[in-house]
């Protein structure tokens, strides 16, 4: 076989090498003499300490050595990426040797990913003096001796992520005012931050601001009109207060928002694919309308059933509704019926997590005028309340697949087998007396055509679900998951 690859033009080889991880690119030098120094033609250097098996000192030496090779061969270096647990020595080295050399080699995209090595390490403020800094991620810098950010020189910064870092409001303001090209900002679990003003960042495409655990009253302002992805976990979220069209937004996650979503209904999201709402108490009892014609997935998780409507959606869409202990709040069933009505046209996956609820009468007698067929219902609750809960839910929807986690697997299966498959009473001595058992049987007798028991091994894939006789399952139940496929009568 002819050796074609070694004779590809240098411009082509450097692109191929560009797509190899650092270690593998450098290893090509062993292939043959032609490859001896080929790898330093790539325009990128990346060093991840987590992939390096030797000491920190040797890690630094490899970086030194690589940069020296580029320098000695007068190669052009465009991108430099370094990820490490930062200690003072490495920081010193970076500042004194690496950054000047990278800048000398033409480096335009410097990406630094640092976690603090020691608990008492201060925020490495000197990093903000690197003009060619392109992307910066800092994690776990929580020293209390704050000096604050005086100079921010990184005008080329496109991405910054601060996770568990003691930056101040003032620091963030400094960054926002000095880095006009920022496109991607993450501020997570930063306990000193109570105010974020990113109104000046007109290029902002991705924002992740999750800080709800620290301050009840936090405010944040961002320029929303170019946002593509927003993950917001803040008690107050005012960014939709203007209403209007968010033309670029494709992903929106709202987490623990307590205040400020009133004008969500006045927004238009023509490109939104994914909407996730988690524990947003401000939506409780409020009519919300979502105008997102290209929605693909809606995920909801919370302790109450939301009142949320969707304007016409063009394509097939899914909704995953996870209700946690909802039944402890009143009138949940009519609200659920209403929500399912609003989700008509969507493939609904309903999850009722009622673990630990021991109230006997959690069901309410609401019979929905039009029961919705849903893709699946997953229930987690005590056996003592299972009948109440199933009876309630079966009054408003018809799931195609039913999953149940009760007290333990054997009684869960026996119970479901009893209500879905076998006529008359179930006989299993470990079953407690079940209320409304007869009632649920009657309801199901009337409407259910067939129930098919299926199992799969825990570690198998979705496609491995298969039918199985009950006794066989009970022999090896610890290793498998089970479900029922339900076929409902045509009405």
């Amino acid at each position: 076989m002819d050796d074609r690859i070694s004779y590809l033009p240098g411009d082509v080889l450097r692109v191929i090498l560009y797509f190899l991880p650092q270690k593998e690119a450098a290893r090509t030098s062993v292939l043959s003499t032609a490859w001896r120094n080929l790898w330093i033609r790539r325009k990128n250097l990346e060093f991840f300490e987590s992939k390096f098996k030797r000491s920190k000192e040797e890690f630094r030496h490899v970086i030194d050595d690589s940069l020296r090779r580029y320098h000695d061969s007068a190669m052009y270096l465009e991108e430099f990426t370094l990820s490490t647990a930062l200690d003072d020595e490495t920081l010193q080295h970076l500042q004194t040797f690496w950054i000047p050399r990278i800048e000398q080699l033409g480096g335009k995209k410097i990406s630094l990913i640092f976690e603090s090595q020691d608990a008492d390490m201060n925020i490495p403020y000197v990093l903000f003096e690197i003009v060619q800094l392109y992307s910066l991620r800092l994690e776990k810098f929580t020293d209390s001796h704050l000096q604050g950010l005086n100079l921010v020189a990184c005008v080329n910064l496109r991405m910054i992520a601060l996770v568990d870092v003691d930056v101040t409001n003032k620091d963030l303001e400094n960054i926002a005012n000095s880095c006009p090209l920022l496109e991607n900002v993450t501020v997570q679990h930063c306990r000193m931050v109570s105010r974020l003003n990113f109104d000046v960042l007109h290029h902002l495409k991705t924002l992740c601001f999750e800080n709800y655990e620290f301050h009840e009253q936090q405010s944040f302002e961002v320029y929303v009109w170019n946002l593509e992805t927003a993950v917001i976990g803040s008690n107050i979220c005012d960014i939709f207060k203007m209403g209007g069209s968010l033309l670029h937004m494709t992903e929106l996650s709202l987490n623990h928002v307590m205040e400020g979503l009133r004008n969500l209904s006045n927004c238009y999201f023509p490109c939104l694919h994914f909407l996730r709402i988690t524990n947003c108490h401000c939506l409780s009892g409020v009519d919300t309308a979502v105008n997102a014609p290209n929605l693909v997935l809606f995920e909801y998780k919370g302790q109450f059933v939301p009142k949320i409507k969707f304007a016409q959606i063009i394509n097939q869409w899914d909704s995953k509704i996870q209700l946690l202990k909802t039944s402890s709040s009143g009138e949940w069933l009519p609200k659920l019926a209403e929500l399912l009505q609003c989700l008509e046209g969507s493939n609904v996956y309903l999850i009722m997590d009622h673990n630990d609820i021991r109230k006997e009468h959690i069901f309410e007698r609401t019979r929905a005028s039009n029961k919705q067929v849903i893709e699946s219902l997953s229930v987690r609750c005590d056996l003592s309340v299972a009948s109440s809960l199933f009876l309630s839910v079966f009054l408003v929807c018809k799931p195609k697949i039913l999953y149940y986690i009760g007290d333990d697997r054997v009684t869960s299966v026996a119970y479901l087998w009893g209500i879905l498959k076998e006529e008359g009473n179930i006989k299993h001595e470990s079953l407690p007396r079940i209320l409304e058992f007869q009632e649920i049987r009657e309801l199901l007798l009337e409407e259910l055509e067939e129930a098919n028991f299926q199992i799969k091994k825990k570690w198998n894939r979705e496609k491995d679900w298969h039918s199985c006789p009950l006794f066989e399952h009970l022999m090896s139940y610890k290793l498998s998951h089970f479900r029922f496929i339900l076929k409902w009568k045509e009405t």
């Binding site: 076989m1 050796d3 690859i5 692109v15 593998e24 290893r27 043959s32 490899v62």
Partner: protein, 163 residues
């Protein structure tokens, strides 16, 4: 011009083995080389592409048409590229990467290069030599020295040895 008359302009490309291909101008200008010729007004007749053979050019044109039919959706474009390259052997990939380089089509160049890199990734030195027909012209002493110099690159990497 296309924009003025409302009918799409078609270009005729000629490979180095004299095959002729018609392609919509809007798709062909993915190649900066061709775009420059069109802008300089040299695209009136047949555009000769002296460094690309007919078989490769046909494939490149399939790609041009396929990718330009996808609206601005990076994910869909990426999955089209993955599918387009999935069944190509190294010989074909080498022809295509040379053509992409000559035609100055960065998106194809990157995709093919990434694909070739993927073949090399996580493979032992011996495997790569055999796969690509690279002759080891180091003396044993030299090879040992180069290995020593780069010994960190041999650690912690799981390589597929002989498949």
């Amino acid at each position: 011009m296309a924009a003025e008359t409302g009918t799409p302009t078609t270009l005729t490309l000629k490979s180095n083995d004299d095959e002729l291909f018609s392609v919509a101008e809007s798709a062909a200008i993915l190649s900066v080389t061709i775009r420059n010729m069109v802008e300089d007004g040299c695209a009136g007749g047949v555009i000769p592409l002296d460094n690309v053979d007919g078989k490769t050019l046909a494939s490149v044109i399939t790609y041009m048409n396929g990718i330009s039919a996808i609206p601005a959706d990076e994910e869909k474009k990426k999955s089209y590229r993955d599918k387009f390259l999935s069944d190509k052997d190294f010989e074909t990939l080498a022809d295509m990467v040379l053509a992409a380089n000559y035609l100055n089509m960065s998106c194809l160049m990157d995709a093919v290069s990434a694909k070739i890199a993927q073949v090399m990734e996580k493979k032992s030195v011996g495997w790569v030599r055999r796969k690509f027909g690279i002759e080891n012209d180091y003396t044993p002493e030299e090879e040992a020295a180069v290995k020593e110099e780069h010994k960190w690159t041999f650690e912690g990497v799981e390589t597929d040895d002989d498949n």
